[in-house]
Amino acid sequence: MAITKKDVEHAAMLARLELSEDEKVTYTSQLDSILKYVENLRSVSTDGIEPTAHVVPVKISLREDNVKESLVQDEALANAPEKANGCFKVSRIIE
């Protein structure tokens, strides 16, 4: 499976990355070789092996439905580049 420049452009768009033409060329070949390398795994037979979600055999732990203290508003908004009315302020997202 060969990675094309178009794939790189699409992935960059989804990730909101702006790439120069040079970068696109570089990443296309780099991603391509990464995928080819990973593709080696296909040669391993996995018949009869259960899919693994985690490297150690642990089970999911659930929490009881108890309310804990939240941050106060100022703390919650402390890292916001812009804020107003107790909210994060962002560019208008609907017309």
Binding site: H54, D65, A76
Partner: protein, 482 residues
Amino acid sequence: MQYEAVIGLEIHAQLLTDSKAFCGCSTRFGAPPNTQVCPVCLGMPGVLPVLNKRAVEFAIKMAFATNCEINPKSVFSRKNYFYPDLPKGYQISQYDEPLTKSGYIDIDVNGTKKRIGITRIHMEEDAGKLLHGETYEDSDYSFVDLNRAAVPLIEIVSEPDMRSSDEAVEYLKALRDILVYLEICDGNMEEGSFRCDANVSVRPIGEKKLGTKAELKNINSFRFIQRAIEYEIKRQIEVIEEGGRIIQETRLFDSDKGITISMRSKEEAHDYRYFPEPDLLPLEIDAEWIDEIRRNLPELPAQKRERFVNEYGIPQYDADVLTSSKALANYYEGCVKFYNKPKVISNWVMGELLRLLKEGGRDISQSSSFKIQPEALAKLLNMIDSSAISSKIAKEVLEEMYKTGKDPDAVVKEKGVVQISDEDTLIKAIDDVLSKNPKEVSDYKEGREKLFGFFVGQVMKATKGQANPQVLNKLLKERLSK
């Protein structure tokens, strides 16, 4: 050409847990913005989600109630997209291995039963809320409140089994009933705790292949859903008839204009790049827990309706009305315990009581607002049976009970409305009326029998409605035949 519509619904139901899906922040509605948030639901670096056990329990309850299979092992996935209401840049959801799948519910559409398939029910987290600047200074901005971010949801995806807006609305109502009966969602569409997207397509009747669908979003009432679907069906048929082609797209319902509008945006190219959530292990549910949840399932609306018909011998219609809310059904059953004429109670509850509740805007599930205890209603009905009061007076007494919460005995005593069954008293009142209306009496005797009602009315007026109607009828006939 004749067309048929094909409709499938995706419903998001907010689960009534106290805390969020993956952290301990409160889920309470209406708090000041960004006061129910923490590093986990804000998507700060380095935090880890821990799944809320009750959310899982609620989802399993819904699975049982909709005849779904429960996967002993399901997987959470990340659904990646950028939007300001989604702080992590992905939504934790379930994708290829949902908690439950392959169920159905039966709905009743104008007297015909229809089975609607449920493809899957999966767990996910809600996004935050966006407020859009209303004032001039704010008009270029949106404001993000993340209190709702990561509140647990279940998404219930139906098969494309519905063929009309009526069916869609019935299905939606049935699902909402079930959620509310299970006490896992409050079903409030206005506050957004019960939301619906509709996938609508049309095809020529007889055609097996599905047409291209449009996804309708942003519909927050049963009425709007009906209108949105109806509009969309009409629109698509018109496009096809004019030789056009339906485009797969998301459309918003504009409730003011009653139309759907295409929501063209760059984001339309959905590419969510789902992958298994590395921070959560697969959700494994042991059989014992599933069993425990099943044993504790409450009676569901359909079962209750059936039982009401069988146990109380009331008509299907009555059973439908009385089970329309759990609180009303409980109230009805409470009354039956104290007064063993189920159909009589049904008439009073569906008639007078629901009228009073509707006019007064009170809530039968709130004892602080609705004060007529089942025992008191039973007592009132017994008073009619023993001829202590007429049913006409009983209605007035009930109204007073509704207003004040007083016992029927007390109301009757205060109003002095005890029924008059004493023959001497009634004969006196009758003779009085007859002597004042000699012309009507002679007309009656000459055959104008309709005047009987006039005499009844006059006596009732003279006795302030307290005359026992049966006794009055009997005595009046006697006096007039003299």
